[in-house]
């Protein structure tokens, strides 16, 4: 512990995966080993950073010692650190899952060679975005994430994946460019780009324009209804570990940035808060209907992401403009819950598809092969996504409902209930097919062994369930460094 202060942990958190990406790309034959090692080093750095945050409060690094606004600062407060831990934790288990999914028997050499550099570049971007305190720097990070994520989407190489990847690319670039235009308006008005400048700013027409542009861009990137059109195709057609990363982690970054910006630059009107909540409600209804109609398991899981994003935006709006200062806790808990559970669920869905050979929901119960452990994992993850106690999803929904009821916003309570009912309905479509045996034509074969590959999704699903018990300490940790209480 004595050498802790000499290493600057925020920098290490960004540079460790970058170094891994460079090595894994330059030395493809050792890509998996190098990649896994660098994910573990990153996890160590995040753990050290978390200890430092716990001991000292928010950690600030003034890169180049210039200090904002001339230079760029990295800042790790409680919220950033929790999200970093979420990213690297989910990432580490998905990496383990990827070792099996992209094993020589299952995937071609190309996929294996390119997965690791792309995933590590993605991790660099994600970590950088969570630590950023500068709007232009955020734009660059969003682009790093976008390019790496598109690469991961088309990793499978099929026609559907490439087409979905292209749609994703258009949406992603357009979102980033809307954000960049917003950055332009921020500089026009303020002459600086750091968060502190945003907090201190007086309302002005240019800032309203900036906020509108940035929010539009972020909503497109995070796929809030009706801007979700690119998500189901991209997430359903990617390979399972890539889907887990895309659905679990990538959409969360734009949510996080949205959260930061709207706290620092308050929405000018209560009506807008309601509008965003209404879009969330739309996502819950439309996504729910589509999930009920989905024919393939991975598509259903992808539509459930649309629903969950809607839910998170309802949580954002749950107490109106006055309650925004508190709503972030519900949002953060739901982000965390969805990341862990959805990553586990996508990996489990991938396992089921690998074992059974297809993922058509209607035919799942006709299969002679029963990947029992993967099915069990899927069910556990569904519990958290539906929001049953003691899961993390339950904790998030609880905070949401509490705030909505306290503010007397019963419509948000109603929407949340409807969303829950939808989740129960579409997940039970899948779970029922796991349990039914009567349509089987051949005797039930043994499942394909308790492969080590089942461990990663299982641990993720169990964490989603178990972390609900730790919701209170997580909430307390998130408040370290006053994410939204004081000037950073």
């Amino acid at each position: 512990m004595t050498e802790l202060p000499t290493i600057d942990w925020p920098t290490a958190v960004v540079f460790a995966p970058l170094a891994g990406a460079i090595l894994a790309f330059a030395w493809p034959r050792r890509a998996a080993a190098l990649g896994l090692a660098s994910v573990l080093v990153t996890a160590g750095a995040v753990a050290a950073l978390a200890l430092q945050v716990l001991a000292e409060g928010a950690v600030l690094t003034r890169l180049g010692n210039w200090g904002a606004p001339l230079g760029i600062d990295l800042r790790a407060d409680g919220l950033s650190t929790v999200l970093l831990a979420m990213t690297v934790g989910v990432g580490a288990f998905v990496s383990l899952g990827a070792l099996d999914s992209y094993a020589p028997a299952r995937a071609d050499d190309r996929t294996r060679r390119y997965f690791w550099p792309l995933w590590l570049l993605l991790l660099t971007g994600l970590n950088g975005a969570f630590l950023s305190t500068d709007v232009f720097n955020l734009y660059v990070m969003l682009e790093v994430i976008a390019l790496a994520a598109v690469g991961l989407t088309v990793l499978g190489g099929g026609r559907a994946a490439v087409r979905a990847g292209l749609d994703y690319m258009y949406a992603s670039i357009l979102g980033a460019l809307l954000f960049l235009m917003g950055v332009g308006f921020v500089y026009l008005e303020l002459g600086r780009l750091d968060f502190a400048g945003l907090i201190a700013a007086e309302p002005a027409p240019a800032l309203t324009a900036a906020l509108a542009l940035m929010i539009a861009g972020l909503l497109l990137k995070t796929a809030l209804f009706p801007l979700h059109f690119w998500l189901p195709g991209a997430h359903a057609n990617a390979t399972a570990p890539a889907s887990a990363l895309l659905s679990g982690l990538v959409v969360k970054v734009s949510l996080y940035v949205f959260l930061r910006l709207t706290q620092y630059m308050p929405l000018p009107d209560e009506l807008l808060v309601t509008l965003i909540g209404a879009l969330g409600a739309g996502a819950i209804l439309w996504g729910g209907i589509q999930a009920l109609r989905a024919e393939r398991l991975k598509l259903l899981v992808a539509w459930s992401t649309v629903v969950q994003i809607g839910l998170i935006f309802v949580a954002f709006a749950r107490a109106g403009q006055v309650g925004l200062a508190e709503s972030w806790k519900a949002v953060a808990l739901l982000i965390l819950a969805h990341a862990v559970a959805k990553a586990g669920m996508f990996l489990a869905a991938g396992r089921i598809k690998d074992e059974v050979g297809h993922d058509r929901i209607a035919d799942l119960d006709r299969s002679p092969i029963r990947p029992t452990l993967a099915q069990f994992t899927f069910a556990l993850a569904a519990i958290s996504l539906i929001g049953l106690p003691p899961s993390l999803g339950f904790a998030g929904k609880w905070v949401l409902m509490e705030g909505a009821m306290a503010a007397g916003y019963w419509h948000w309570v109603g929407v949340t209930m409807i969303g829950t009912l939808f989740s129960v309905a579409y997940f039970s479509r899948v779970l029922a097919s796991f349990l039914r045996f009567d349509r089987m034509r051949s005797p039930v074969a043994e499942h394909q062994g308790w492969a080590l590959a089942d461990a990663a999704p299982l641990i993720l699903a169990l964490s989603a369930l178990g972390l609900g018990l730790a919701a209170a300490p997580i909430l307390a940790f998130m408040e370290i460094g006053y994410p939204f209480g004081a000037t950073p």
Partner: protein, 313 residues
């Protein structure tokens, strides 16, 4: 009387907007790309008028020249595809037109209400120029004050080449076109000249408009001419060198940023005595990486050994 230069600006602005419309509406796809190149040239001129020669250089070299070349090769690859696969319903067009007109109105309104005299960061930059190690403010911002952004920008470039190599698989190589003696003579003359110009831009960046990105883009043009004239053919055996070239800039940049830390200094905090040397080192390596990466992005697919089974077919 209206000042003639302002009249020029107004005409240029109108021309740029008209070109943007023309790019989207012209039917012929080749004309679309040519119009886009002209649009880029005119935008660069406008940025010159706004006293931003660095930006004009970058836009002319990267945003227009190399992007234009990329677009031309892509059009060549997909020329068999129909120009307009599905007609868009008129209602959708009108609705979006209205939406975008509304957005234009709102943004223009906000822009007109904003005084253009915010102090900005210019005073802070001027104050710290002496400590930055270079004499040109834009280079100081790119490689010192906001070096972290620039590192991440090089990372974006790295991500792009990784993604492109992954996406594209060995397409059939067209036979080399015979360009004749005159072209060969031209390239013998032009290639060294371009190398000199690129290096000059890199070198001058410390004091005047220019620098790693513009220099790298000009050097990438050398790669383009080599590839186009089939004077260089990428081989599978060259892949390790190519990969080394792609990561060189990022690795050196990140390495220097980390290695200067320690002894009370933070990452990216170059020691004052060596700031100039370190920045030059980073710029040189980044230039090489940019040149190699941009040329590789133009070439597209990873050079792969053709499996024996496919060869025989």
């Amino acid at each position: 009387m209206v000042e003639p230069l302002l009249l020029f600006d107004a005409l240029l602005g109108l021309a740029i907007a008209a070109l943007a419309v023309a790019v989207l509406t012209v039917h012929d796809r080749f004309a679309m790309i040519v119009l886009f190149i002209v649009f880029g040239l005119m935008s660069a001129l406008a940025w010159v008028r706004l006293s931003a020669p660095d930006v004009a250089l970058a836009e002319a070299a990267i945003g227009t020249g190399l992007t234009g070349a990329l677009l031309l090769t892509t059009l060549h690859h997909i020329r068999a595809a129909p120009a307009a696969p599905v007609p868009v319903p008129g209602g959708v067009v009108v609705a979006n037109l209205g939406l975008c007109a509304l957005i234009f109105g709102g943004l223009a309104f906000a822009f007109l209400l904003t005084p253009l005299q915010a102090p900005g960061l210019a005073p802070a930059v001027a104050q710290n120029m002496a400590a930055s190690g270079v004499g040109h403010p834009v280079t100081a911002v790119l490689l010192n004050f906001r070096a972290y952004d620039t590192l991440m920008e090089v990372v974006v470039l790295l991500a792009a080449i990784v993604a492109v190599w992954m996406v594209e698989r060995g397409t059939v190589q067209a036979p080399a076109p015979v360009l004749g003696e005159i072209y060969r003579g031209f390239s013998r003359l032009a290639l060294p000249a371009i190398v000199v110009i690129g290096s000059y831009l890199l070198w001058v960046g410390a004091q005047a408009p220019g620098g790693a990105f513009q220099g790298g883009a000009v050097l990438a043009a050398v790669g383009l001419l080599l590839l186009l004239g089939r004077l260089y053919r990428p081989q599978p055996a060259h892949r390790p060198f190519a990969r080394a070239g792609f990561v060189l800039g990022t690795a050196v940049f990140a390495g220097v940023a980390l290695l200067v830390a320690g002894g009370g200094r933070l990452p990216f905090e170059y020691p004052a005595a060596h700031a100039k040397t370190l920045i030059l080192l980073i710029e040189g390596m980044v230039t090489i990486s940019i040149a190699v990466t941009l040329a590789a992005l133009f070439h597209g697919r990873e050079p792969e050994a053709v499996p024996v089974s496919e060869k025989s077919e």
